[in-house]
Symmetry: C2
Subunit: 192 residues, 2 copies
């Protein structure tokens, strides 16, 4: 059921770091991305996969985590992602990806969840260092880093009213709390 | 299998117009969108659903179809979408949706495919008329129109080389042909 995958596709930021994601699984996720819709069918996205300790460590150093968790600097050793997929725009194809990447990314994340993994979309990263790690000689622009692994955290969704705070937070047991708007509040038909 | 849903999620532009999509199905699709990731968890998206002939006709008049099919003006009567979901940005929440909408849209489309429907993402529409149809008094901006229905066309994917033409086209039997880049060509690791 797609609904189960969609529900389980939360933004995970702590993982069982010793649980690997195989290269073939990562390539399968990229294949799901490949088949996502693309504006004007340009297909300007390129992907870099990593699942080795060496490259993972380099990528990890470029990332900023969880802006609303001001006391937390990101996952500790042992709980870091065991793989990454970095999504790039190939500027030789086009300068404008029309938000294509998020169509592809949602396929990747749902594919990861289907295999009992999960991930987090990271838009806050050191662009220059990412380009150095991947390849400085291509005319490509990093758009997002997807951090992937076997999730090591519990995430609780709860409903809020329209003017309530939307920031996620952690309770005293370190369970991640994510406020979500109610279905009726996002349906314009119910609010006209 | 997610892969089957992803494969079947093609951009359909002709439908069995008499096959309705129920309001409850459309609301379920919006619920899938509600659970998509959202940058900063802002959740600034709002949705308008339509499945009546009257509102569908008004929406249809605002749309432009299939830029590469220069001899085709869109689906004829009997083959038009039987439902629409229009995705809006609520500007009272934020001016910047960070491409959130495509995370939500992919969930909607996969949900539609799971129920044997399908759709097409339309970014070319008459903005003023869409706002008039939905509600001119809210501070909302239309981002995309999703055309939905039971697909009445066959779509064939075929692989291309990096410099080949990416425009979709129809063969003499009106079967829609969509060129897709090869997996190895979009994997930077294989091209460094």
């Amino acid at each position: 059921m797609l609904k189960d995958l969609v529900r389980k596709n939360r933004s995970y930021r702590r993982f069982y770091q010793d649980v690997k994601i195989s290269e073939s699984d990562l390539i399968e996720f990229v294949d799901l991305a490949r088949l996502a819709p693309s504006a004007k069918n340009n297909q300007p996205l390129k992907y870099f996969i990593s699942n080795t300790n060496e490259t993972n460590s380099k990528i990890f150093e470029t990332l900023a985590w969880a802006g609303y968790l001001t006391d937390w600097n990101g996952p500790i050793e042992g709980e870091k992602p065991s793989a990454y997929i970095i999504v790039f725009l190939d500027k030789n194809i086009t300068d404008n990806n029309y938000c294509d990447h998020n169509l592809a990314v949602q396929n990747i994340l749902l594919g990861a969840v289907e295999k009992e993994f999960g991930g987090c979309i990271i838009a806050a990263f050191n662009r220059k260092k990412i380009i150095e790690i991947v390849n400085p000689n291509k005319n490509i622009e990093p758009l997002l880093v997807l951090a992937l692994g076997k999730p090591k955290e519990e995430i609780n969704l709860y409903e809020i009213n329209p003017d309530d705070d939307i920031k996620y937070w952690r309770n005293s047991e370190q369970i991640h709390q994510v406020p979500k708007r109610k279905l009726n509040d996002i349906l314009i038909n119910k609010n006209n």
